[in-house]
């Protein structure tokens, strides 16, 4: 401490020392409470931080403006929490969750987002001063986006608050950045909204069965897989050995389906219908004479892709590419391609082609 405090400020500081452990406990409890609420409402935040003001920081504050405080309870940021969101819209969602959890001291809360004139840019953050019935002190919750947080940290780090006069060009550059980040925040939110809308539309097209209108991409394929499109074929294959089916992710087949020319989910449906018998023939040949009684749910799509490649003349090289895409590149994939070519050679679907 740089200077001895007057007795009034020293009494406030002593009150702080007496309750320090309690503050630490409550800070963690508030953080936990917020975390649980965010998690239960599916709100993903970039960071949730809490801190108890350090003794030296409090002493500094008292040294500067101690007469303003009649007791420790007048200081509103002994406990501080900060919620950093990915998206600008989520700041309001966080604020609404905070309002439901705590009593807000509106008089002392500040929405820095509204504090700017139309032609000024800078610090944007929402600060709520809160109370909880079982805790006699107020505490502060700051809410802002990741980009707002980055700007605030950089601005702080470069000495804005040091009291030293800052050159105009520096302030202008920082404000230009603030404006740019504000735009970026809005764009990220807009992109998220548009993507959500796109996913909703694709999901609805898949559900309504308009598969020819649905381009084959990650979102569409994920929605399609929710309908278990390969389960009939998988069950048929499993029934050969009364096998158990282990469900696994089938998203890896997306790039293979695209590589073999599927453009829409309608194409995938036709491909499934046209090649299911051949895929089943291959499976019967492969597992029919074994005692294997467990298969993965990828067996159906894997065999469909393999027979498609074989029937359409992709041969060994095509199969090798399929295995490379599915399992990662490896020389062993050549062996497996040879193995499949050899197995399929005498099967009806290959001879029908001839």
């Amino acid at each position: 401490m740089s200077k001895k405090l007057d007795p009034h400020c020293e009494a406030i500081l002593q009150e702080y020392r007496d309750h320090k452990d309690e503050f630490e406990k409550y800070a963690v409890a508030f953080k936990q409470q917020l975390s649980e609420v965010f998690s239960s409402s599916g709100l993903l935040v970039a960071a949730l931080e809490c801190r108890v003001k350090t003794e030296s920081s409090l002493a500094g504050k008292l040294e500067l403006k101690g007469s303003k405080y009649s007791s420790l309870s007048d200081i509103t940021d002994i406990i501080g929490l900060r919620v950093i969101t990915f998206y600008i819209d989520d700041v309001d969602k966080v604020a609404s969750a905070v309002e439901r959890l705590y009593d807000i001291d509106w008089e002392n809360s500040v929405d820095k987002r509204k504090a700017h004139e139309i032609d000024s840019f800078g610090y944007l953050s929402l600060h709520y001063i809160c109370r909880r019935k079982d805790f006699p002190y107020r505490f502060e919750i700051q809410m802002r986006t990741l980009l707002q947080h980055a700007w605030a940290n950089m601005n702080h780090d470069t000495g804005y608050k040091s009291g030293v006069e800052i050159p105009t060009y520096y302030l202008r550059n920082m404000n230009r950045l603030a404006g740019m980040l504000e735009l970026a925040d809005e764009q990220f939110s807009r992109i998220r909204s548009e993507l959500t809308e796109y996913r909703r539309r694709i999901h609805s097209l898949v559900k309504s069965g308009n598969l020819d209108e649905v381009p084959l991409d990650g979102d569409a394929f994920r929605s399609y897989l929710e309908m278990n499109p390969f389960s009939d074929l998988n069950r048929k294959i499993a029934s050969v050995n009364q096998a158990e089916i282990q469900e696994v992710s089938l998203m890896g087949f997306l790039k293979i389906l695209k590589a073999i020319g599927m453009k829409t989910l309608g194409d995938v449906e036709r491909f499934k219908k046209d090649y299911a018998d051949a895929a089943y023939q291959l499976a019967c040949y492969q597992i029919g004479l074994t005692d294997l009684d467990i298969v993965s749910s990828s067996i159906g799509p894997q065999n469909l892709c393999a027979v498609f490649i074989l029937i359409n003349g992709g041969g060994r090289a095509g199969l090798k590419r399929m295995f490379d895409a599915l399992n990662g590149e490896s020389s062993a994939n050549e062996m497996m391609a040879d193995f499949l070519v050899e197995q399929a050679a005498d099967l009806p679907f290959m001879n029908k082609k001839k």
Binding site: A243, I287, D291, L292, I294, Q302, G328, A332, F339
Partner: protein, 102 residues
């Protein structure tokens, strides 16, 4: 059937030797349950199949159980040195792409 578990740095290596068939799987499963704790499962578990001659459905289930445990503990399972017969069992059951294979 002989199974040896060895911790090497940040990896746990499980050496399989012989035939992992239905009768031997029960014992192997019990041994691995004892020797591969959550700590081991949270790391990279390498299943070395250099000397594994045969694998049955019960053996596949052991590999799947290890994968599930590793996945739950934040680790991963890697299979290495499978011979062609073992690899073809993984292929025809559709499990090959589930594992990282070297």
């Amino acid at each position: 059937m002989k199974v040896t578990v060895e911790n090497q740095g940040l990896e746990t290596i499980v050496w399989f030797e012989g035939r992992l068939d239905t009768p031997s799987s029960l014992e192997v499963s019990k041994q691995l349950e004892e020797e591969i704790s959550a700590k081991e499962a949270s790391r990279t578990v390498i299943l070395d199949c250099t000397k594994l001659d045969y694998i049955s459905s019960s053996g596949l289930r052991i590999f799947l159980t290890l994968r599930k445990a590793a996945s739950a503990a934040g680790g991963k399972v890697v299979i290495r040195n499978m011979n062609d017969n073992i690899r073809s069992v993984f292929l025809i059951t559709g499990f090959l792409n589930l594992f990282e294979v070297f």
